[in-house]
């Protein structure tokens, strides 16, 4: 028989040489690794993006709800404006509660560590509608000229408006941009530069997955300690950002800090 001769091995087995196999396996391995890396990175990016979107969505829900309530806040000289007996942010708002006739509602936003799936860690909103009946009790707007008077605790069952909110704090913004923890009623002529004009809300939000991770690792309290009270004249968000930067691990990446400044409808021009 004459003619061309194919390589013996190839022609005989129609297979691959070892080198080919090795090379192809190496390439395949490389592709797999790269693919895995890409997938992993994509997954991470996707997860991170999703978490960020979730965090942002949570933050926006919180901010929008807060803004809606504060937009309708009742600010009067003879009310304990933004002063509650408990922690969090207390105020009276004209916000409507379904089923309630009067649009006067005691509102309180407070962070709670949670406890169970029905009671997750996050920011809770308490809203107790007031009414026209009776001459005493919690059904009435708690006007008071007594120095240091505070709004009563809303008796209503709270709704979680900010799941994943790991910290919540606020500062009142004065006309001169200074910050403080105490609301100061402006005079009618708005001549006092230290009077309150707005409120700056600070939120720290952790995505669900990272939160589970942190919780399962038993490092939750250590994580929460990051959000210690900031100085009264400082923005909590700025301080939190510094503290978060010192963390390592997923909680650092999963935590997002947000702020929004909402104007307070004080009387006067």
């Amino acid at each position: 028989m004459s003619g061309s001769h194919a390589p013996a091995g190839r022609e005989q087995g129609n297979g691959f040489t070892l080198i080919e196999l090795l090379v192809s396996m190496a390439v395949l391995a490389l592709i797999v690794v790269l693919a895995a890396t890409v997938v992993s990175m994509t997954s991470q990016t996707w997860t991170s993006g999703r978490n960020r979107i979730d965090n942002y969505s949570y933050a926006r829900i919180v901010f929008d709800t807060l803004a809606s309530d504060i937009y309708r806040a009742v600010v009067e000289e003879d009310l304990p404006n933004f002063a509650g007996a408990g922690s969090g942010l207390h105020f009276l708002s004209r916000v409507e509660v379904p089923g309630a006739l009067r649009r006067a509602t005691l509102v309180r936003y407070a962070w709670a560590p949670g406890g169970g799936s029905n009671n997750p860690i996050g920011l809770y909103r308490y809203a107790e509608p007031l009414g026209y009946g009776g001459s005493s009790g919690t059904n009435r707007v708690p006007f008071s000229r007594t120095a240091g008077a505070t709004l009563p605790e809303p008796a209503a069952t709270p709704d979680v408006v900010g799941p994943g909110v790991m910290a919540f704090d606020f500062r009142f913004v004065a006309a001169d941009k200074s910050l403080g923890k105490v609301f100061k009623m402006p005079d009618t002529a708005r001549t006092d530069p230290s009077a309150t004009a707005a409120i700056e809300i600070s939120l720290a939000i952790l995505d669900d997955a990272t939160l589970s991770l942190v919780e399962s690792s038993g490092q939750l309290q250590e994580y929460l300690d990051v959000f210690q009270d900031a100085a009264d004249n400082k923005s909590p968000a700025e301080e939190w950002k510094t503290n978060i930067a010192a963390l390592t691990g997923p909680s650092r990446r999963g935590t997002r800090i947000y702020t929004r400044t909402i104007s307070i409808p004080t009387p006067g021009r």
Binding site: N14, D64, L101, A104, R269
Partner: protein, 1093 residues
């Protein structure tokens, strides 16, 4: 040759690729979906923010429109450049109403709405062009698109939605024409956008004047239980809190009670109405009575948070069947702001009231002159920084008088105790600042019955901080500003009361009137001090008169005039009305001068009168009970000697010693409710008569000289009423007194320590008796008299009884022709120029009316004849204070804190039977209603603007007011309703510009259709029921408005040029309460209430 891929391998690859593509597609779609969702959310949020901004812009546009209107409606000749916007005409004191003719009457609070050009022309207010100087004010003209027309999306505002604030009655709403849209473009708000594609939103509005509505956060009171007011408490009417809400349609008493029980749960915890009001009015200060203006809510009380809250409350009441409808809502508001600052503008000119045309008395024309006695208050600015009494800084350029003077500060001056002085706990430094007064106590330790000539052992000395003129003078407001301090009480009085109505050109009266009298009566400051003391003594609880010392005379003159620099207030005490010269001769025809029968007795008998209607009503007011009349000066005994045998040629003179020349009396017998000579009752502590045998060698017949508290034995009684006039006295010769000037009779009270204090005088003592030169003819019984026991300003005159001789009680006290026979003054006339009288028949009683229609009247120094307390008397006793027994028509002493500023009308003006005038058109005192306040607050929430008040609101404010401040019957519902109708009619044609106009304009409504009973319309105290009801709650300068604003962000449908094709992206509705000071064009406050649609 390569072998082709197997079919199965190709399929796997395809599947993989497709899967990959699907995954990529899903991811991409999810991403875009997410992006779209976020974009949607973001755009909604952006639209929300945008519509908020548009709403803010729309509000600013409407406010800007209003401010342009204020400027156009203001007098350009006034200091608008300095922020002073005085109305060109009275009509521009309130917002111009651009409404249809039907709406004008059926929707009284409707001011305007966003409207198309045609309606703007059709609804232009009458007289607008003239009133607003030709300004068009059409900056916010709407489009031709009505809010009832559907937008591109189908959304529209049905007509009914425009009455969600319930400020239009159901009946009147039928006349309402809906607003038109105004569109936002980059060029601003317009009804006709040049390029519809540039439209970014639109808005429409309805503007209401709610200034005349009752702020239901304040108005109303409990009608049952311990906190319900008594009739007298209700009569206070110093605030809309006293409004009878049950007079409002649709608001039965049960609803009022429910409202108050809910609103004032905390305030009702007390046991009395006083407790309730004290808590409800929010006692905010450490000083007693420093109340706020209902701006804040007491602990445990409630307040409506906005108009929406009020509407829902009434829906709640309706659900509870407490009310049957919402008809009350158009009369109620939840917001009112009033600057508690005076805006006094003097006027009118004297020439406009029939007075002189002298420039000095053209008050309005001179209002902006430097150092005008009666300046425009807003034009007097701070020129030197200082700290105000409330601790705030007075900034250069702001009004010097920034807040009304709180009458509660009068409580710092105590006259409850006999010695007076600062009230317990009062700060002398504050008293000095507020009143310019320092307490001076000469500190006489031991009783001094003789007084040692010291008529005023303790007093307030007027000596304001800083440099003062000598002799003392009350500074003008400009001078006070230059002094770098706030004006005090007296300076404010002087600046507010038209100066031509004070003091007077005391030149008539002939030789009887000494120069000191002229100086005193011509002194405006002296008049102000007396008036100020009278106000203080009305306010304080005690019945001890307040004395103010001011060195108004040069020191060199103090020896003679010193005692006339003390100005004592009027309390519920008797004063001198007459000094009778009585002469008695035992035998008219003695044989010899040494004959006892030739003995002549001559004495002065003071006649005392407490002319107040509540005389003898001591209540729990501490006051004096022991009094005396003393004389000082010199008196010469006179007799027509030649007619007596062996008569002497010269008259003896006796210089009086107060210890001897006195007569004591007390309050225990008659209380002097009618003029009574002191001899008519027995003194409980009789004094020895001042019995002198003066120069007996020549005048043995003089037996008694001085006062005669008890009838000497032998003097017959005539008709049981001494003093007697001597039947046996010959027609000639005559005898009498000659009083050498200055001679003064003084009434004094004794304090607990036995110290005597002078409080009432007859200082203008012309000759008493016949001195043979006046041509009086025989006058054995002559006297000096005052028209009004409370003052001797102007009217001390000499007179005598005509023959046949009459005893003193026959001297008619009314001195008024027609009602009583009256007594004509045959010789004297008061020193008041120009004094009009019919010649010899001068009936001084007519001065208590002082009408040009009468035969006797006088003009003030500005030539204006201003009526007295009897201004409205007309043929009956009603209104005549001097008629015997006519106590209802007499003035009153309150002896308690004023419950409202109009109660100051009880204060005596130191002119015969003239109280502070809050009831005539020519009132020179009306500005006081704007000058004073009952609260220390800068801003109040408890007033209304009568110009825009519904008739029912006026009725609610009038109802329940007592015709007298402290007694009598209240206005009946029928009377209140009739008066409210008449007042509404008056205000529709004559808007008022200040609280003072209530006195000058609104009180005239009492005559409309006989809404008040005749007596009430003619008696000062009762006619002033209108001023007491309305003046304290009147605010004409603040525009309190409610803006019902609907705003939509969005755009015109692409490709469309029709404004109807608007695509809204977000919509908002706001009810915005706006308070603007009309006189400074400054926005005082804005309260925005977001409304859920």
């Amino acid at each position: 040759m390569k072998s082709p891929l197997r079919q199965s391998e190709c399929g796997v690859a395809l599947v993989l690729i497709l899967t990959f593509l699907v995954l990529v597609t899903v991811v991409v779609l999810a991403f875009f979906f997410k992006v779209q969702f976020d974009r949607k959310v973001s755009s909604l949020y952006a639209a929300s923010v945008q519509v908020d901004e548009l709403g803010r812009g729309a509000m600013e546009s409407v406010i800007g429109d209003l401010q342009a209107e204020i400027e156009a409606g203001s007098d350009p000749n006034v200091k608008t450049s300095e922020g002073l916007f005085r109305p060109r005409v009275a009509a521009t004191i309130r917002p111009a109403r651009w409404v249809s003719s039907a709406e004008r009457t059926s929707l009284p609070t409707l001011v305007r709405r966003s409207m198309r050009s045609a309606n703007r022309s059709n609804w232009k207010p009458a007289g607008f062009d003239a009133d607003y100087g030709g300004a068009t004010l059409d900056g916010l003209t709407g489009s031709e698109v009505s809010t009832t027309q559907p937008a591109q999306t189908g959304i529209f505002f049905p007509k009914d939605s425009w009455n969600r604030p319930h400020l239009m009655s159901m009946a009147g709403f039928a006349d309402f024409q809906t607003p038109d849209w105004i569109y936002w473009t980059p060029q601003g708000a317009t009804g006709a956008p040049a390029d519809p594609s540039e439209v970014s939103g639109r808005f429409a509005f309805v503007l209401y004047d709610i200034g005349g509505l009752l702020n239901v956060n304040v108005a109303g009171y409990p009608s049952t239980g311990g906190s319900a007011p008594t009739a007298q408490e209700l009569a206070g009417k110093g605030s809309i809190a006293y409004a009878d809400l049950s007079r409002i349609s649709g608001l039965p008493q049960a609803a009022v009670d429910a409202l108050v029980a809910w609103r004032n749960a905390g305030s009702l915890a007390g046991s009395t109405f006083e407790d309730y009001m004290r808590v409800a009015r929010a006692d905010i200060g450490t000083e007693p009575g420093t109340l706020d203006g209902f701006l804040r809510v007491a602990d445990g009380d409630e307040r409506f948070l906005g108009r929406g809250d009020l509407v829902r409350y009434f829906e709640f009441l309706k659900d509870q069947s407490v009310v049957t409808n919402l008809d009350a809502l158009p009369s109620l508001s939840v917001f009112h702001r009033s600057l508690n600052a005076p805006a006094i503008h003097p006027g009118p000119n004297a020439s406009d009231l029939g007075g002189t045309s002298d420039a000095e008395f053209q008050y309005t024309s001179r209002a902006y002159d430097n150092n005008a006695l009666n300046p425009d208050f807003l034009s007097v600015k701070v020129t030197t920084p200082f700290e105000r009494m409330d601790g705030s800084d007075a900034v250069v350029g702001e009004p010097l008088v920034k807040r009304r003077f709180p009458l509660s500060r009068l409580a710092w001056l105590d006259s409850q105790s006999p010695t007076g002085g600062p009230a317990s706990g009062a700060d002398p430094a504050k008293i000095l600042s507020a009143f310019g007064l320092k307490w001076v106590d000469n500190g006489l330790a031991a009783p001094d019955p003789g007084n040692s000539g010291r008529l005023y052992p303790s007093y307030w000395k007027y000596e304001p901080p800083g440099t003062n003129p000598s002799p003392m003078r009350i500074k003008t407001l400009d001078e006070v500003a230059a002094s770098g301090r706030e004006p005090n009480f007296f300076e404010l009085l002087k600046a507010a009361i038209l100066h031509g109505s004070l003091a007077g050109n005391q030149t008539a009266g002939g030789s009887w009137i000494g120069s000191y009298v002229t100086a005193l009566d011509n002194d405006i400051d002296a008049h102000i001090f007396r008036l100020g003391a009278n106000i203080i003594d009305q306010y304080d609880w005690g019945n001890y008169p307040t004395t103010i010392f001011a060195e108004v005379f040069p020191p060199a003159d103090h020896v003679v005039y010193g005692q006339f620099q003390y100005f004592t207030g009027v309390e519920n005490l008797p004063g001198l009305t007459r000094a009778m010269g009585s002469v008695w001769v035992r035998d008219a025809t003695p044989a010899d001068k040494n004959d006892d029968l030739y003995e002549q007795w001559s004495w002065i008998q003071p006649e005392i009168w407490n002319p107040h209607q509540n005389q003898g009503s001591s209540g729990n007011h501490q006051g004096p009970s022991n009094f005396r009349v003393v004389a000082d000066g010199a008196i010469t005994m006179f007799t027509n000697h030649s007619a007596f045998p062996n008569g002497r040629a010269t008259a003896p003179t006796k210089f009086l010693n107060p210890t001897e020349s006195q007569v004591e009396f007390d309050l225990s017998v008659t209380q002097w409710r009618e003029p009574t000579v002191t001899e008519a009752f027995n003194s409980s502590t009789p004094n020895p008569l001042g019995t002198y045998d003066v120069d007996t060698s020549n005048m043995a017949y003089v037996k008694t000289f001085g006062f005669l508290p008890n009838r000497p034995s032998g003097i017959p009684v005539s008709g049981g009423q001494p003093p007697v006039i001597l039947p046996g006295l010959p027609s000639s010769p005559l005898s009498g007194f000659l009083m050498d000037l200055p001679t003064t009779l003084s009434v004094q009270y004794r304090d607990d320590s036995g110290q005597w204090h002078t409080y009432n005088q007859m200082r203008r003592m012309p000759t008493l008796g016949n001195n043979g030169s006046s041509g009086m003819g025989p006058a054995p019984f002559t006297f000096l008299q005052k028209t009004d026991a409370r003052t001797d300003r102007f009217t001390v005159t000499r007179s005598y009884l005509p023959r046949p001789w009459q005893n003193a009680t026959q001297v008619n006290r009314t001195m008024r022709t027609g009602v009583d026979a009256g007594h004509a003054i045959y010789d004297g006339k008061p020193g008041i120029p120009p004094f009009t009288h019919p010649g010899a028949d001068v009936r001084l009683g007519l001065i208590s009316e002082n009408k040009t229609s009468g035969s006797v009247y006088y003009a003030d120094s500005d030539g204006v004849v201003r009526r007295a307390d009897g201004a409205y008397a007309n043929g009956t006793l009603d209104g005549l204070p001097m008629a015997t027994g006519n106590t209802n028509s007499r003035p009153i002493i309150l002896n308690r804190p004023f419950r409202n500023v109009a109660e100051m009308g009880a204060a005596f003006r130191d002119l015969p039977f003239k109280g502070l005038d809050f009831f005539t058109a020519e009132s020179p005192d009306a500005a006081l209603l704007d000058l004073f306040t009952m609260t220390e607050a800068d801003m109040t929430a408890d007033r209304i603007n009568p110009n825009s008040a519904p008739r029912e609101v006026l009725e609610a404010l009038l109802a329940g007011t007592l015709l007298e401040p402290d007694s009598g019957t209240a206005l009946t519902p029928t009377q209140a309703s009739g008066l409210a109708t008449a007042i509404r009619s008056t205000l529709d044609t004559t808007p008022i510009t200040s609280p003072g106009d209530v006195a000058k304009v609104v009180t005239a409504a009492a005559d409309v259709g006989a809404q008040l009973p005749t007596a009430a319309a003619r008696i000062k105290n009762r006619r002033e029921v209108i001023s007491r009801s309305l003046a304290p709650v009147t605010d004409a300068r603040t525009w309190n408005l409610l803006l019902d604003l609907v705003v939509q962000s969005g755009k015109i449908a692409p490709g469309s040029s029709s404004l109807e094709n608007f695509i809204p992206s977000a919509s908002r509705r706001y009810w915005i309460h706006i308070a603007i000071d009309r006189l400074t064009n400054r926005v005082l406050e804005i309260r925005t209430e977001p409304i859920h649609e």
